[in-house]
């Protein structure tokens, strides 16, 4: 072995960190090389002296000083916990208020929706009733038979008008399934069978207005109602509004749980890789923890589940104390 190599491994030799072969090689070299032998002896002497450096005892006053400092630290931590808890309560209250507001909006929308439906149905029933009353009056005045009455133009026009309105309204509600609604409507309408002026007397046909499928709002007679309906919330719009509300509620929940994660992981450097809104009010977060702020490297991925206003960490090492 050469001097350079021996110099490189001198400390490992002194600390007995070499295997037998290298140890033998160094011993052989030292026994023949005065310079390396001197270097070895000097370093051995230094190490021996340093090994014997006496330890100094900690001043007794330090015990009291440390206790005070720890006490101060504990009070600081409990203060910050109180603040964190009140923040948590505030967050909870904020979330509950949001949910209540969304719920209230939903209720009002449903109430309004039902009011409108009820009102229109009443109006339509009123129109039909009026038509029937008029017919009855005519019947009394003219002593016409019931079959003549059914053929009367007055009855036809009044009843037509009433049915048209009702039909238009139903079409408004079932925009999506035109064919089905028209099929369903046909037998229902057929009870209002009538004899057309141009057709043979006594023959009846199902009452299906020409324009109800293609464009229900074109009819000039029903303009008043059509305008009212257009300002109403259709079922499609209503479901869209509910969906938006649900999304907003989910976003608010994710934000809330992110806040809790921030509280819990304030001693770590981390990154939220993914956040999902799982069913039944659960939020799931994938979090990558790089290190603690004290410098401990973790590089571990953990999962946090937010449910019922609480956050739970899983797949964590028990020593991380989460």
């Amino acid at each position: 072995m050469k001097c350079d190599k021996t110099r490189e491994m001198l400390s490992l030799y002194i600390d007995k960190m070499l295997d037998d072969n290298l140890k033998k090689e160094i011993e052989e070299h030292i026994s023949t090389c005065n310079l390396c032998k001197k270097e070895y002896d000097d370093i051995m002497e230094i190490v021996t002296h340093l090994n014997e450096v006496e330890m100094v005892s900690v001043p007794k006053s330090f015990e009291h000083r440390l206790k005070n400092a720890l006490q101060h630290e504990r009070s600081k931590i409990s203060d910050s916990k109180i603040i964190a808890i009140s923040d948590k309560k505030k967050n909870k209250l904020r979330m509950l208020t949001s949910i209540a507001a969304i719920f209230a909006v939903g209720l009002i929308s449903v109430g309004l929706y039902q009011d409108i439906i009820g009102g229109v149905t009443d109006q339509l029933d009123g129109t039909a009733q009026l038509a029937q009353d008029q017919v009855m009056q005519e019947r009394v005045m003219n002593n016409e038979t019931e079959s003549d009455l059914y053929n009367s133009k007055l009855y036809k026009s009044n009843l037509d008008e009433a049915i048209d309105e009702k039909q238009k309204f139903e079409i408004k509600l079932d925009v999506a399934d035109d064919v089905q609604s028209s099929d369903a409507l046909k037998p229902r309408m057929s009870i209002y069978g009538y004899t057309d002026d141009n057709s043979e007397p006594g023959s009846t046909k199902a009452l299906v207005p020409e324009n109800y499928v293609d464009n229900p709002s074109v009819d000039g007679d029903s303009d008043g109602y059509s305008k009212d309906y257009s300002t109403m919330m259709t079922s499609e719009e209503f479901s869209r509004a509910l969906t938006i509300q649900a999304i907003e509620r989910n976003v608010a929940a994710v934000q809330f749980y992110k806040g809790l994660i921030e509280d819990n992981l304030r001693d770590f450097n981390y990154e939220i890789l993914e956040s999902d809104f799982v069913q039944a009010g659960e939020c799931r977060f994938r979090i990558y923890i790089f290190n603690s702020k004290e410098g401990y490297v973790f590089n571990e991925e953990i999962i946090a589940i937010g449910k019922d206003g609480e956050i739970e960490f899983i797949y964590t090492n028990e020593f991380m104390g989460l």
Partner: protein
């Protein structure tokens, strides 16, 4: 009789293992309790490594007040971050790591104040940062053990901080290479080469001062 002797020996081995295991599990219990906020457990844990931690701080900072400040700051840091201790290393090694980091932070802060007692040289290939005559007068007649040791310690102050710290940890406190790699957060290879270079440099410094 042979059977009884064997039994006694095996009992002793079991007893030693039990003592080791119970010490280890006792420490784990203390850590668990301390993490849950038990003050006595935390203080017991700290007490076990306080003496060595203080001496490390003293040898790094060369000043009793600074060493006590560093010790207090370290223990507060440990108290705050105990929940992040994951048990990968021994508890005391983790404590010394925090003490060493705190001391290095204090040295960096104090460096701007240019404390003339903490003068050091860089490696031979680098330019010396600052050089001041040895305040210990380097007396030639200091041949007894204590004086020789003090002389070595004063020369240790002339090494650069990295060289000085590895000599403190290895030769004064006797940490293993593995422990040093954990305390300084570096590889075993780095520890090996730094120990060797630092000892050779310390020897050169001693020769220059003699």
């Amino acid at each position: 009789m042979d059977g009884i002797t064997v039994l006694i020996i095996s009992n002793n081995i079991v007893l030693e293992k039990d003592i080791e295991m119970s010490a280890d599990s006792k420490e784990k219990q203390l850590i668990k309790k301390a993490k849950m906020g038990d003050e006595n457990s935390f203080e017991s844990l700290i007490l076990g490594c306080q003496g060595r931690a203080y001496n490390i701080a003293l040898q790094y900072l060369k000043n009793e007040d600074d060493a006590l400040d560093a010790l207090q700051e370290s223990f507060i840091k440990i108290f705050r971050s105990l929940k992040t201790f994951n048990g990968d290393s021994k508890f005391d090694t983790w404590v010394y790591r925090i003490v060493v980091n705190t001391c290095n932070d204090m040295l960096r802060k104090n460096n701007s104040r240019k404390n003339t007692d903490s003068i050091y040289w860089n490696d031979g290939e680098k330019e010396a940062v600052l050089e001041i005559p040895d305040s210990s007068n380097a007396p030639e007649d200091l041949y007894d053990k204590k004086e020789k040791r003090d002389h070595i310690l004063s020369c240790l102050e002339k090494l650069n901080p990295e060289q000085k710290e590895i000599i403190i940890l290895r030769d004064i406190h006797g940490f293993t290479y593995e422990e040093i790699s954990e305390i300084l957060n570096c590889s075993i290879g780095t520890v090996k080469s730094r120990i060797n270079r630092s000892r050779l440099r310390l020897r050169e410094t001693l020769l220059e001062q003699s």
